[in-house]
């Protein structure tokens, strides 16, 4: 059951990811990314991260991606055009990415310590209570400080997206 679920989700995630980077139109890419996120949410759940699975769906796939799509629509973007510039990236990019992936996979395989097997429901640490408790105790400082990031984001978005200087 776990395995099947994992494999399905993994395939969905990878295919969506591939689709995202292969599509020429930003909207398609964005929607593909939503697919990746959905698949990942299921995996989070499998890993016992209940709260995060929810957050992934609501915050990420819901709010953030909507923002993206909204902007894409707003700017009325079409398909991207081919470009001769950045030939360097165009030529060496793929081998490099493959090498990068290969190294990561190889080293992960070769050097990984013996790991647990994941079985759904055997460990459910990531409930809202536990998360919340930790956030307000050990991680109080980052939790508070991260509010500054949000603040900056608001201010920044306002400044940059404002139409005219008054």
């Amino acid at each position: 059951m776990d395995t099947i679920l994992f494999i399905i989700c993994a395939i969905v995630a990878i295919l969506s990811g591939l689709n995202m980077i292969l599509q020429k139109h930003p909207i398609s890419s964005a929607l593909s990314l939503v697919g990746v996120m959905g698949a990942l949410a299921v995996l989070y759940l499998l890993l016992g991260a209940e709260f995060l699975a929810m957050a992934q769906m609501f915050v990420y796939a819901g709010a953030v991606m909507v923002l993206f799509i909204f902007v894409i629509m707003l700017l009325n973007m079409g398909r991207e055009r081919a470009s001769r510039k950045s030939w360097f990236a165009q030529i060496v990019g793929l081998p490099l990415v493959l090498a990068f992936l290969g190294i990561l996979l190889f080293i992960t395989k070769a050097a990984l310590p013996p790991f647990r097997a994941v079985q759904f429901g055997t460990w459910v640490g990531g409930g809202a209570y536990n998360i919340g408790r930790l956030l307000f105790t050990t991680y109080l400082l980052p939790f508070e400080v991260i509010s500054v990031v949000v603040l900056i984001a608001i201010v920044g978005a306002v400044i940059l997206a404002r139409k005219e200087i008054d």
């Binding site: 950045s86 360097f88 990236a89 060496v92 490099l96 990068f100 190294i103």
Partner: protein, 615 residues
């Protein structure tokens, strides 16, 4: 005995005239200029009378000039018999020529400058002969060279004068090259530069170890002498040095400075005596120079040039003398030469003065009537130089030749024939100037007494100078003179008189003979007339290549193209050309930049993986 007083008078004259001469009246300038030399002469006489009979040298130590390691050089002055002779010549003849200059330079601009440099010259010349060590001698040596330069270039606004001055200085410097190296070698060998200490060291030195290095020293010092005394191969400057005022030629380029080389060899006789090789070289140089320059003297039209080549030739005799060990004969000839050659130049000067600067023999003639005193005195001098019996050179030159006769026959014969040639060209000049008809345009007149009086004094000395017992006086230092060889003397006298006779034939009896003869020997004459093209050779073989190499090869080639162009700027260009790499790096494209980040991370992972592991 304050020996330092001897040179200090001319120095004072130099300082006073140098600083204030331009604002002083001429009379005052002459007073200081001539007076200082007179005082010096007076003090020399006084000092010598006090030191009489000067059997041991007298040395005055004044201050330590230079001390570094084992090198110690003091400002020390010494008088011995050789120096005494030199002192008298310098101050005595010097005084006469100074007096003469009052008249000769009277209406020249730069009168004060002339006396300033003249006094300075006397100062340095006195230092040269008084020096008790080699370095101080070198100081005087260079100092007289400087004054020679300044006085040859007296008419500095003239191209030829300035060129000649430079030539004199530079050629002398080439000689000094050897002199300096000689001094270094002396220091290394003896660890001292004092003549007396050198002699002491030398006496304790094993012969085998010293021979090579002593020869080397002597030859290097000889190089210096050839420069200063205008011997082959460095004689080329002296004829050109005649561009200076005539008193300068008389004092510096005839009587005193040019004899410094002979003096130095005589001074270092204790050294030369140990090296027969060097001695032989000295003698050969002397005899060849004597003959060689005498031949050039045959074809000169400039009266001063004639006397200049004659000077070179006579200096060759002196070299021959000291080279074959007849030091006292050499010095004796030095002295008589100072008299008659100074007289020849002063007389020529008197003529030139009278003709408003004309020096070309072809535009003189018939001056016998117009300038009787000059005529008589010059006659004395010409007879003297020709070695006519009982005139001064008869004794001195024949002393050298008779020594040469016993040393090496070929040297004697060359010397004797040269004596004949000498008398020929001296009388050629004499006849051309004073006999025949006047060929110039100026209105000639006899010079004033300030000029004629020194002429007369010198004429007396030229005639009677041979009776001064210099040889026996010097025998204390150089050993007794060789016995006079009557055969040798007869031959040389015969040669001399023959020369006079031929000159008389050519220029008085049958004036058409001379041009006919020159036409007959055509190319040879051209060669001799052009001084064997030595100047041209020097110019084309040394000066021009040197300039070209410096300019084209070293400056444009090595300095600008190679070191700066390829080396320094090339490095810069290389670094800049690496900038092409940056076009690749900093393309401005975000995607390329992302690629670089990826490359970097791969690199980082690779390095971590390669070197890997926890320590």
């Amino acid at each position: 005995m304050h020996l330092w007083l001897i040179p200090i008078f001319p120095l004072a004259g130099f300082v006073i005239n140098g600083l204030f001469g331009r604002r002083m009246p001429k009379a005052l300038v002459s007073l200081f200029g001539v007076g200082s030399v007179a005082l010096s002469l007076g003090y020399v006489c006084y000092a010598l009378s006090q030191l009489w009979p000067l059997t041991t040298p007298f040395t005055g130590h004044y201050y330590t000039w230079l001390q570094s390691g084992f090198l110690q050089v003091g400002f020390d002055l010494t008088v011995d018999r050789l120096t005494a002779v030199m002192l008298l010549i310098i101050t005595g003849v010097g005084l006469l020529i100074h007096i003469y200059s009052i008249g000769y330079m009277g209406h020249e601009s730069g009168y004060d400058r002339f006396f300033t440099f003249f006094n300075l010259f006397v100062f340095f010349m006195l230092i040269l002969v008084l020096a008790s060590n080699l370095l101080l001698l070198f100081v005087g040596w260079e100092g007289v060279g400087l004054c020679s330069y300044l006085l040859v270039g007296f008419y500095y606004h003239d191209n030829y004068s300035s060129y000649s001055a430079n030539k004199a200085m530079i050629v002398n410097r080439i000689g000094d090259f050897g002199f300096l190296l000689g001094i270094f070698l002396v220091l290394i060998t003896f660890h001292t530069l004092d003549f007396s200490k050198m002699a002491a060291e030398l006496s304790t030195m094993p012969v085998e170890t010293g021979a090579g290095i002593l020869t080397m020293i002597c030859l290097l010092l000889l190089a210096g002498s050839t420069g200063k005394s205008a011997q082959i191969p460095l004689y080329v400057w002296l004829p050109d040095a005649m561009a200076g005022p005539t008193p300068v030629s008389a004092l510096i380029h005839a009587a005193t400075m040019v004899t410094a080389g002979v003096y130095m060899i005589a001074r270092l006789s204790f050294l030369y005596n140990h090296t027969p090789v060097a001695m032989e070289v000295v003698a050969i140089i002397g005899v060849i120079t004597a003959a060689f320059s005498a031949t050039i003297g045959l074809a000169q039209h400039d009266i001063k040039k004639v006397y200049a080549y004659s000077t070179i030739s006579q200096l060759g005799y002196m070299f021959l003398g000291v080279g074959i060990g007849a030091y006292s004969a050499g010095v004796f000839h030095l002295m008589t030469h100072a008299f008659f050659k100074a007289l020849l130049f002063l007389g020529a000067g008197s003529v030139i003065h009278a003709l408003a600067g004309e020096q070309d023999l072809r535009r003189m003639g018939g001056l016998r009537k117009k300038m009787p005193i000059t005529f008589v005195t010059l006659l004395c001098a010409s007879l003297a130089i020709s070695g006519v019996p009982y005139f001064s050179a008869y004794f001195s030159k024949d002393a050298i030749l008779s020594a040469a006769y016993s040393h090496s026959l070929w040297m004697f014969w060359v010397g004797a024939v040269t004596a004949g040639v000498t008398s020929f060209y001296v009388f050629r000049a004499f006849f051309l100037a004073f006999f025949g008809t006047y060929r110039g345009h100026e209105h000639a007149h006899e010079s004033s007494w300030v000029m004629t009086a020194p002429l007369i004094v010198l004429a007396v000395l030229s005639v009677g100078g041979g009776y001064i017992p210099v040889m026996s006086w010097l025998s204390l230092g150089f050993g007794p003179a060789a016995h006079e060889n009557t055969i040798a003397m007869d031959i040389s006298v015969a040669c001399g008189i023959l020369g006079i006779v031929i000159a008389w034939l050519f220029y008085i009896v049958r004036p058409s003979l001379a041009p006919a003869f020159t036409r007959a020997i055509g190319p040879v004459y051209t060669l001799v007339f052009n001084k064997y093209y030595v100047d041209e050779l020097n110019h084309n073989a040394i000066v021009r290549p040197l300039k070209a190499i410096s300019d084209v090869v070293l400056w444009r080639g090595v300095d600008e193209a190679l070191i700066d162009g390829v080396g320094v700027n090339g490095m810069g260009r290389l670094i800049r050309s690496w900038g092409g790499l940056l076009r690749w790096f900093q393309s401005g494209s975000v995607r390329n930049y992302g690629t670089w980040v990826l490359i970097g991370s791969l690199l980082a992972i690779f390095v971590f993986g390669l070197v890997g592991g926890v320590r």
